[in-house]
């Protein structure tokens, strides 16, 4: 700063001792240690306040997304892929692949929602889609995070026509341009001007299904059997809720 006078600019040769003595190493280390400890404490306190709010928001976003891609689902349960089969047991879930099984109000399994991410046009597109193993159909799709070109590729997140294309479409999905659509069951009409992003969404879903379809179908058949038997047992009475579900 120009307004600051340089210290000791006129002190040369005088008997005045230097104003600032060199600090000892111990003082340097202890200053930074104390400052670091205080900073750590402050951050921990704020973190403890923020963590439940951040988690609640994440759960809310996930719940909304699951409801959206599994139309009619009112609750969902997270199941984890251990080896080559799914389980609801939560032994050590860290790093395990997981999907969400949605149930409707009557406790009937509605479909399986799963997250998938792959490269889009500019950045990774992270999306959630619903899959109905009984029909082998994709029944809904919503983009969770993306960084596509605003006004063009970003339409995959909000273009309702495009998102509606995923409501009941046979697998594997086939992306077609608007003027080439033949109205077949596995066709997804891509967005004009956002072909790369649309194609990426389709590829993400196909790849994910390719990799996980077998265990999902296997788990689904056990669910279906369980649902039938429980229906037979309760015979007309209100159906029991699935165990340990994440409430919506």
């Amino acid at each position: 700063m120009s307004e600051q006078k340089l210290p000791m600019a006129e002190d040369n040769g005088s008997a005045a001792p230097p104003r600032q003595v060199e600090a000892s190493s111990v003082r340097l280390v202890s200053t930074l240690t104390v400052a670091g400890a205080l900073a750590g404490m402050a951050i921990v306190m704020v973190f403890q306040w923020a963590k439940p709010r951040i988690d609640a928001y994440k759960a809310k976003v996930l719940a909304e997304a699951v409801t959206q891609v599994l139309g009619g689902a009112t609750r969902y349960q997270t199941v984890y892929l251990v080896g080559d089969h799914f389980t609801t047991e939560r032994v050590d879930t860290a790093g395990l692949d997981s999907v969400y099984v949605g149930y409707d109000a009557n406790g009937q399994p509605r479909g399986v929602a799963m997250e998938a991410a792959e490269a889009g046009f500019q950045d990774v597109i992270d999306l959630l889609f619903g899959y109905d193993p009984s029909k082998d159909d994709v029944i809904g799709m919503t983009v969770l995070t993306s960084n596509e070109t605003p006004g063009l590729g970003a339409k995959i997140t909000y273009d309702s026509t495009f998102i509606g294309e995923f409501d009941g479409v046979g697998t594997p999905l086939k992306g077609v341009k608007k003027d080439r659509a033949k109205g077949q069951h596995d066709e997804v009409v891509m967005i004009t001007g956002a072909t790369i992003s649309s194609r990426a969404v389709i590829k993400i879903i196909n790849d994910r299904l390719d990799a996980i379809k077998k265990p999902v179908d296997a788990y689904w058949s056990t669910l279906a059997t369980a649902a039938t038997t429980s229906n037979a047992a309760t015979s007309g009475e209100s159906v029991t809720n699935p165990s340990a579900g994440g409430g919506l």
Binding site: Q20, E22, L28, T31, L32, A50, P150
Partner: protein
Amino acid sequence: MRTTTPQEDFIRGIWKENPVLVQLLGLCPTLAVTGTVDNALTMGIATFFVLLGSSLLVSMFKSVIPKEVRISAYILVIATFVTIADLVLHAVVPEIHKSLGPFVPLIVVNCIILGRQEAFASKNTVARATLDAVGTGFGFIIAMMIMGSVREILGNGSWLGHPLLGAHFQPWVIMVLPPGGFFTLGFVLLGIAWWKGRSAVAVRPRRWPHGVTTEVGGPAS
């Protein structure tokens, strides 16, 4: 040694030494997150908070911090405030936090903040450092708002999410893309340079015919 008044400490950061528009510091967030007004405003407020908190602490403890480790200590203080701001934004406005992406943590390396600590807060009283931080912080917010307003109005036809230009307006998509940031900043800086040049010309003595010398704007002879 006090050579400036409190008003000058405050005003300096807003206009005469505006961190973005005059000193051209902190251009990374200015270009990156001003696509919409709410992003720009949130980023401005987060930076304001970090700057004010750091200036307060640094000016308070300036005699305790040995000069050999002062930069490390400043960075520690700044990083703490940035982490707090990041967590609070994540908890309170998660949508905006998501769209700001890595730019909140990157406030740590914003040279506006470290610059104010080294050049001002570490050498002045708490009161003056606070005024300076508030002024500089407001200067940053103002610059962010100018950028965000221009880009959102032209690029999206809205301001703070409210439609402004009607359904017939075709948004200039490029304005919310990175090139739009450079265009906007360039034109804003051009405007400021023009305005400064104009006021500099205005006080230059002019020679009139018949040997009369006067200053434009002064009393005519």
